[in-house]
């Protein structure tokens, strides 16, 4: 692949998180019985007229601002004409040459490198209905069933400049885009439900800047599919070029099972859609004050948060990455740190046990979580006990203080008692003691673990460590002896 320049652009569709459709008051709930959230407007019945949903416009503006776009105070809706059963009116209301927003920019990390990609435009449009094809693929089906519940859900279409140079970069871009849109609160961005969808276009240039035809890839339903389809396609195009062939402009689809792209049809040129102004909707004229109002409610975005965590709290890139990618974890972290706790200590617990348990379901309030951390850091309970308590907090919503009192959790810091346990552990493993005495220092961890096990995790670990080192040093010639 060396010597070739790859250029990738993405076209992303995001379902906006409104309560109702873009041009009618039908609900947009996912998973309702088919055709139960439809009315004359979204079924395209004659005589019905669209009325624009203010919230759809607001969410689209939020998305555009979060992507550093310029909002056009004047934009227009058009009809894009094509025949397909999922499009009840036989045209889609969208925006063409006067879109809602243009000239955005998204910054993101590809590994450790900060990248940026231009957002060419963001516009509003309506979603199509859902076609359910009988049989395995579109081509093999006997008939098609159509559900118009989805028809008319507001979409923001986001188009990037074709400037990404690798499949991995395209994936990193899309992951960051999703995160930014989630932070902005404009969509749940669930690729598995189709509320975030991505098409890609890719060109492979034998020499930088050389003109070649563009191939589009559709049906990219996951980050992995995006990366793999682009990698497959780049290799395929290189093979065509190496054979002295020409890459044809076409639309291909990602076949997940076969793990390859397959040709869909010869690409239709724009004139075929016969765009013309939507006569039923006046131009969209926006008030600059409204846009500023929306801007003022945008939260801190992921990249800013990441920088702040590293600067203000001195967290590692790993910890900040985990926190920033999971806004609910970031929220718990900040609320817990806000009460003056050690950021690194809190981050360890949040990105470790808390994150793990939260993934399994449920949540624990920052207040209770803070109380638990205080008990651990003050030595009132051990870290091992803390893990158990946190599990119970997630499973049963218990208060940490009450639970610890109820269970009689205490830390064993009794030197005599621990001394006795240590002696038993060492007596039980004479060969290991000998190896330790001969210089295998790393065996200390094993002895600590045995003592913790013997005390059900209740021993104070720092004290165990200290006593063990002392006991073992007592004689590097320590000999097992009877009591």
């Amino acid at each position: 692949m060396t010597g070739y320049e790859i250029r990738i652009g993405l076209e992303i569709h995001v379902e906006l998180a409104t309560n109702t459709k873009i041009f009618c008051g039908c609900a947009v709930e996912f998973g309702a019985p088919p055709n139960s959230q439809c009315c004359p407007v979204c079924l395209g019945l004659p005589g019905s007229l669209p009325v624009l949903n203010r919230a759809a416009v607001e969410y689209a503006i939020r998305a555009a601002l979060a992507l550093n776009c310029t909002i056009n105070l004047y934009s227009e809706f058009v009809r894009k004409n094509y025949f397909y059963p999922d499009l009840p009116k036989a045209f889609q209301i969208t925006q063409d040459d006067k879109p809602l927003a243009v000239n955005g920019l998204l910054r993101y990390y590809l590994g450790d490198e900060l990248m940026e990609t231009q957002i060419t435009r963001l516009h509003l449009e309506e979603e199509a209905g859902k076609s359910i094809h009988s049989g395995e693929s579109i081509i093999g089906s006997e008939y098609t069933s159509v559900d118009y519940n989805r028809a008319g859900i507001p979409l923001a279409e986001i188009v990037t400049a074709p400037t990404m140079n690798s499949p991995a970069q395209a994936r990193a871009f899309l992951e960051q885009l999703r995160l930014v849109l989630q932070y902005a609160g404009v969509s749940d961005c669930k690729m598995e439900n189709g509320s975030l969808r991505c098409d890609a276009n890719i060109t492979v240039h034998p020499e930088p800047g050389m003109r070649v035809e563009k191939v589009e890839i559709k049906n990219l339903n996951s980050f992995r599919a995006l990366e793999r389809a682009l990698a497959y396609e780049a290799e395929r195009q290189v093979r065509v070029l190496e054979r002295g062939g020409t890459v044809m402009p076409e639309t291909r689809t990602w076949d997940e099972r076969a793990q390859k792209t397959v040709r869909m049809r010869v690409k239709a040129g724009a004139p075929d859609y016969r765009y013309f102004p939507e006569p039923d909707l006046p131009p969209l004229e926006l008030d600059a004050a409204w846009i500023e109002e929306i801007r003022s409610t945008l939260p801190e975005l992921p990249l800013e948060k990441e920088a702040r965590y590293q600067e203000a709290y001195g967290l590692s890139t790993y910890d900040t990455g985990v926190l920033v990618r999971a806004p609910q974890l970031a929220q718990v972290f900040e609320a817990t740190v806000a009460q003056g706790r050690d950021p690194k200590f809190v981050a360890n617990w949040v990105t470790g046990d808390y994150a793990h348990l939260a993934r399994l379901g449920g949540t624990v309030s920052a207040e209770h979580f803070g109380q638990l951390l205080d008990m651990i850091s003050s030595g009132a309970i051990s870290a091992a006990q803390g893990k158990t308590v946190l599990q119970e907090m997630f499973a049963r919503g218990v208060s940490p203080r009450e639970f610890v009192a109820e269970m009689g959790f205490t830390v064993i810091a009794d030197r005599d008692f621990l001394g006795k346990v240590i002696r038993e552990v060492l007596t039980g493993h004479p060969e290991l003691v000998e190896r330790y005495c001969n210089g295998e220092d790393r065996l200390l961890g094993f002895f600590v673990g045995q003592v913790m096990k013997a005390t059900n995790g209740r021993a104070e670990p720092r004290l165990v460590n200290k006593l063990l080192v002392e006991a073992l040093a007592e004689g590097r010639n320590w000999q097992p002896r009877a009591e």
């Binding site: 409104t18 309560n19 109702t20 009618c24 008051g25 039908c26 609900a27 019985p33 088919p34 055709n35 139960s36 959230q37 439809c38 009315c39 004359p40 079924l43 019945l45 009325v51 624009l52 949903n53 203010r54 919230a55 759809a56 416009v57 227009e76 004409n81 094509y82 025949f83 397909y84 059963p85 076609s131 359910i132 094809h133 009988s134 579109i138 081509i139 089906s141 006997e142 008939y143 098609t144 069933s145 159509v146 559900d147 118009y148 559709k218 639309t251 689809t253 869909m264 049809r265 075929d272 016969r274 102004p277 006569p279 909707l281 006046p282 131009p283 969209l284 004229e285």
Partner: protein, 97 residues
Amino acid sequence: MISRAEVVRMAELAMLELNEVEIALYQADLNRFLQSGAELRKVNTQEVRLSSHVGRASSRMREDVIQRSLPQEKALRNGPCVVDGCFRVPRVMEDVR
């Protein structure tokens, strides 16, 4: 002037099957539309701003409040073939988008 080939192409895009008589008919009709349009060229529009819409209505928007949808059976009433709550149509050979 609109050619016969252009009429055929438009019919294709609109998924209309036209016979020779109809092609001739629509070719003549469409050309009459164009002639009417050409009349407008006589009007001096130098001072007139380009616009896409009639009138100056500004965007009226509705609040994001759920309204009752049609009952499913009513939504499906006009479907020539309805199965399991869905409109059923002949199979789609290719994604034409």
